[in-house]
């Protein structure tokens, strides 16, 4: 058992170098690079919107509804003649703030619940898992719509509603990871010392789950964006004069044939961000914890 396990470890160490990971090739590296650029570009829009946007995003021009691209209006104008490009840039703010709220709530509530369920097991796990199952039983978007309909449509209501549907998602991931880690001897060693659950999580299990958590959070950010955009598209999210990409889609829907850019560009922004986040999440998961690891 001894020599083989070390031989295998050596081999595994070698194989890690040799196996072509998803991001080893030039093409794959380029894709990752583009993803990071997209993310950075959008962050730049969020930070520097007032300086980047050519026009006031809420400046109406009622004489030119649903106009295509023209010299002053690079991406055209929407139903009220507002500059689509400026709205796109300003819209990045709420479009990113929303998912941020979603994952923040999902993390703060979901992670401790999931950890306790996985680590403690037993009755506590039963209880928490059943609550999660209850939420899962409803199609998430439908549940969000119900919540928003009850409390009135607004950006924050939509964000909270979606957040609630993501709590069990995050919790389930953490629970699964906790179940795996719990069986490992180093956790048994912690229990033997008498470390309380919070210490086990903060100092031991948590750091070892970090990579999975970060990757999962990135993914959920992307899906949260999709869900929130859907709500906005239905008019249940950010209300005018607040701008987000989903709302822009709702507005552009009517005039899609006259000014397709109104639909194309917000959709493109959403898609690009979601896809980029997916690649980045994959890449994070693939990292082998290089810090302090060399064999």
């Amino acid at each position: 058992m001894s020599a083989v396990s070390e031989d295998l470890q050596l081999l595994q160490g070698l194989s890690r170098d040799v196996t072509v990971g998803k991001f080893e090739g030039v093409f794959q590296k380029a894709v990752l690079g583009i993803s990071v650029l997209v993310l950075l570009g959008i962050l730049v829009c969020v930070a520097f919107a007032p300086w980047l946007a050519p026009h006031n995003p809420n400046g109406v021009d009622l004489l030119n509804p649903y106009t295509g691209p023209s010299p002053g209006y690079l991406l055209g104008q929407d139903s009220a003649g507002r500059d689509i490009l400026s709205r796109l840039i300003y819209g990045s703010r709420l479009s990113l703030l929303g998912p941020t709220i979603v994952i923040s709530i999902a993390l703060v509530v979901g992670v401790p619940l999931g950890f306790l369920a996985g680590y403690r097991g037993g009755v506590l796990d039963g209880l928490i898992s059943r609550v999660f199952d209850l939420v899962f039983a409803f199609p998430s978007l439908l549940l969000a719509i119900v919540i928003v309909a009850t409390f009135g449509a607004s950006f924050f209501t939509a964000a909270f509603a979606v957040a609630i549907t993501y709590i069990p998602l995050m919790g389930r991931v953490v629970r699964a990871a906790a179940l795996v880690e719990r069986e490992k001897p180093y956790i048994a060693a912690c229990r033997l010392q008498g470390y309380p659950a919070w210490r086990v999580f903060v100092f031991h299990m948590g750091p070892n789950m970090a990579r999975v958590l970060v990757s999962q959070t990135t993914l959920y950010f992307a899906y949260g964006l999709l869900d929130l955009s859907a709500l906005s598209f239905l008019g249940l999210g950010a209300q005018p004069p607040q701008i987000d990409w989903g709302g822009m889609l709702e507005n552009a829907n009517q005039g899609v044939f006259q000014s397709p850019t109104g639909v194309v560009f917000p959709a493109l922004a959403i898609v690009l961000l979601v896809v980029s986040l997916n690649f980045i999440a994959d890449w994070i998961l693939e990292q082998q914890g290089q810090r302090g690891g060399q064999r």
């Binding site: 083989v4 396990s5 050596l10 040799v18 064999r295």
Partner: protein, 356 residues
């Protein structure tokens, strides 16, 4: 003249497997690093040859080189002779044919290598149908014969069972039967008994001995357990840092070990017959081929190392009943048994951070 040349010229009728000057490199961060160096030995029909070593010794890599199961990017040089062909130079297609049919392999963990999805019958008959072209019923009949040949009771019942229903020992027998079903020239057993209980281990080992006697099966028996190899092997090759350091016929290794590493390895093992005040330790940790120092790979840990050991790469020197890779092989390095040398203090490994 290599060791194998010397051995083969002494009128051997036929050799099942022969390795000559085999060196394998694996690719690490774009560089090729060696894992085994100048490995050479042979296996005659009906012989069981042991390949013994600790971690980093390269014994598993040797098996993988023979079987052609190297990680991507790895390169193997030298001669792996099976029958008339050098497996390292034939076409990939021919290689696959040969590997499937001529070389049988059994591994440490049968559960990991037998597909749990299918019944034992499928595992047993698949090879025969692909490589021997047997029909389903022919393969089935042979499989049942093989299962009883390897000592499984109620073979028909076993055929219908799933792997999870069988114990480790039984599964290992199934793996052996499966490996034998295509009538290979040689069986590579890579730590095949390590994960088994002592009593089951003894049974499997005697099974291999029986198969050798009844069918003339050749086996390359890879293990870290010298005592286990002693039970069953006609010849033992000891590996260290990717090199063969000692090869001896019969019980030569135990009666009269000649390489300092072999000697120390034998002494370091707790003896069931008696307890010692302190176990003699070999200072340091085993190293792999790529981390080995220049000269003799063992010299940093060797009690008998001299200046020349740090610069000269020792060749295999002929001794009675085998070969030793040590420049001081001819000298009488020790005359008394090891017992009183067992007072070495517990050594710190502290200085080698990633000693391997």
């Amino acid at each position: 003249m290599t060791a194998t040349d010397v051995m083969t010229t002494s009128a051997l009728p036929q050799v099942t497997l022969t390795l000559e000057g085999v060196t394998t490199y694996v690719r690490m961060r774009k560089l090729l690093r060696p894992v085994i160096l100048d490995v050479g030995f042979f296996v005659r029909p009906g012989e069981i040859v042991g390949l013994v070593g600790e971690s980093g010794s390269g014994k598993s890599m040797t098996a993988r080189t023979i079987a052609g199961a190297l990680p991507r990017g790895a390169v193997a040089e030298g001669v792996v002779g099976l029958g008339e062909e050098n497996l390292l130079t034939v076409s990939r297609r021919r290689r696959r044919e040969v590997q499937g049919k001529q070389i049988g392999m059994i591994f440490q963990d049968p559960k990991a290598y037998i597909d749990p999805l299918w019944r034992v019958e499928v595992h047993m008959t698949e090879g025969m149908r692909v490589h021997l072209g047997l029909s389903k019923s022919e393969a089935r009949a042979r499989a049942i014969d093989l299962l009883s040949a390897v000592g499984l009771d109620q073979p028909e019942r076993r055929m219908r069972q799933f792997p999870e229903e069988l114990s480790g020992g039984m599964l290992q027998r199934v793996m052996i039967a499966g490996a034998l079903s295509v009538e290979p020239s040689i069986l590579l057993a890579d730590e095949a008994t390590t994960a088994l209980d002592v009593t089951t281990q003894a049974e499997i080992v005697s099974l291999l001995g029986r198969l050798r006697a009844e069918r003339g099966l050749s086996v390359l028996f890879i293990t870290h357990d010298l005592a286990l190899a002693d039970q069953i092997c006609d010849r033992i090759c000891v590996m260290y840092a990717g090199r063969i350091v000692e090869v001896r016929e019969g019980r030569g290794i135990f009666e009269d070990p000649l390489h300092p590493y072999t000697k120390d390895l034998l002494a370091a093992r707790p003896n069931i017959r008696k307890r010692v005040a302190r176990l003699p330790v070999i200072k340091g940790t085993p190293t792999s081929a790529m981390d080995a120092p220049s000269g003799c790979a063992f010299h940093p840990r060797c009690r008998f190392a001299v200046e020349a050991c740090t610069t000269t790469f020792p060749q295999l020197t002929a001794v009675s009943g085998g070969f030793v890779r040590c420049i001081r092989a001819g000298e009488q390095l020790w005359s008394e048994p090891r017992a009183e040398k067992g007072q070495t203090a517990s050594e710190t490994e502290g200085n080698s951070a990633a000693g391997g």
